[in-house]
């Protein structure tokens, strides 16, 4: 609706009047810390250190095995959560739409309860569910299948799976809610047209619903990627700020936090800054997809 967008003569500064508060806080709490981070990454480790050390920290990262472990874990964790959550949420939204209309709000609310819960509480619940042999997960799903109970939080093969399960449990309902809202916004006309052209339920879904949902799905995916890279609380409570056995659950934010514990602020900032190109790539990718869908 371009009608709202217009140039008003003689009022060049007006948009900036509205933008000013936002820009002020943007400068104060984003740009300055960001620049501070770059500066810090070029300085020696330690509290209040200002000695310039150039690219030392970055060079150290290139040989830091833990750094690459953290990076790899974060990538796997993030991708896995998107790949699992998006299709699952689509399916759940489809089911919610197919079920009784009256029940829909209650069911949606129940499903997204985990998203309303502080991550540390979720992690605690998960700690209990994963807890050794007696945890619900082992008792309900693993042991009945005749498999040895999994030591979810100690076995390096399963720590990352555990973290992914936690994020799936946390976000699926919330994303279902967004997709459901998107589905309800699709004009009925489309479906009526599709019905005239016949075709199965599946074809309707594939050719009508899915293309219309593209902006929603893009939003959901971007949200999950960003959240994946900023996960802290969940892993912090589950693994106590460590990376777990053999660092199998070490994520980038956890690693940054570990560095700050020992006042290695230079190294910590270098890790953060080194992730920026990745974020720029994600930004470019999402803008590109947006343009293609538009």
């Amino acid at each position: 609706m371009a009608a709202a967008e217009q140039r008003i003569p003689g009022a060049r500064w007006t948009p900036f009047f509205f933008l000013l508060p936002f820009l002020f806080f943007l400068l104060l709490f984003w740009v300055i810390p960001l620049v501070g981070g770059v500066k810090m990454s070029l300085q020696a480790n330690g509290l209040g250190q200002e000695e310039y050390v150039g690219l030392t920290h970055y060079k150290a990262l290139a040989n830091d095995e833990r750094y690459f472990t953290a990076l790899r874990n974060s990538l796997v964790y993030t991708l896995a959560s998107v790949v699992v959550i998006v299709p699952l949420a689509l399916w759940l939204a489809y089911l919610l739409r197919a079920t009784f209309r009256r029940l829909r709000p209650v069911l949606t609310f129940a499903l997204l309860l985990p998203a309303l819960t502080p991550p540390s509480v979720l992690a605690l619940l998960f700690l209990m569910l994963f807890h050794g042999k007696n945890g619900l997960l082992n008792q309900l799903f693993v042991m009945p299948l005749g498999i040895e109970p999994v030591n979810w939080l100690k076995d390096p093969d399963f720590i990352l799976t555990g973290l992914v399960l936690q994020t799936v449990w946390r976000w699926t309902g919330f994303m279902t809610f967004f997709i459901l809202a998107g589905m309800e916004g699709i004009p009925r006309v489309y479906y009526e047209a599709a019905r005239l052209a016949t075709g199965s339920r599946w074809q309707h879904f594939w050719h009508v619903t899915l293309p219309q949902l593209r902006p929603v799905l893009l939003f959901v995916a971007v949200y999950l990627v960003v959240d994946g890279f900023s996960l802290f609380s969940g892993a912090f409570v589950l693994l106590g700020g460590s990376g777990g056995t053999a660092n199998a659950g070490l994520l980038t934010v956890t690693y940054v936090f570990q560095k700050t514990r020992f006042f290695e602020y230079g190294s910590a900032s270098a890790i953060s800054i080194s992730l920026l190109p990745l974020m720029v790539l994600a930004l470019w990718g999402s803008l590109f997809l947006r343009r293609r869908t538009a």
């Binding site: 948009p15 933008l19 089911l95 009784f100 709000p105 499903l111 502080p118 991550p119 960003v226 953060s272």
Partner: protein, 278 residues
Amino acid sequence: MSDCVKNRHAVLSLLLLGPFLLAVLVPFLWMALGMFKTNAEFFQPMAKAFFPANYDWQNVAELLEGRSVPFWAVFGNSLIVSLGQALGAVALSAAAGYAFARFSFSGKRVLFVLAVALILVPRQLFAVPLFSWVNALGLSDSLLGVMLPGVVSGLGVIYFTQVFRQIPGEYYQAARICGATELCVFWAVLPLAWPALLSYGMIHFILAWHEHLIPMLVLTSEAKQTLPLALAKLYDVSQRTPQGVQMAASTFAVIPTAVLFALCHRKFKSSLSEMLVH
């Protein structure tokens, strides 16, 4: 489609949803029931002792009396920080979104991309320089130091840009014909966007309520802590807090956001439906 087929489909869908509902609700139920349990009961295999032997409010009393953490103070701090952040973010984002939606000006594109970039750079990664900057501003160990950095929201700006784009141009013209200044036009169209204002405020409140890392760095004294910090302390094994108390605190931590969402649920969904597809 006949009604019979439709009903059958609805029942089938409900059955398929069943396992997912259980997977979500059982842990929450177990958490809420946990606040009545003694430690011995709590550590029994879940299937055997899901319900407590008797409903004893002692754990709740212990929590509210503040024997482990100053619970009321912590709860209040969390409310103040989250409310302040939500109000601030709504005000800043709505004004910025209005500017992006309504005016064309030089530098608009660059600023908008910057706002998108904001979403993509997790604040947690820059926690350390942010923390030292907050210190330099003299805001260390104060609630303001947690609140203010959280009012900048890229998501909010994009959301409100979209919202104000959808308000038909006639509204703006009508307001202008009446000779209103730009600020008055903004005030005049604001009520049209109130479901969006409410929805975004709610989302931001929830995000602020969950924030852990920044408060952990900024807030040092016990009286200033927010809920996630207090919870982490309660969960800490070395504190030997009774499990029931931990469960009571966890349950109380969920209630505000759950109630808020339940209240705003409908408005939020319809405002999203209108926007997401177009």
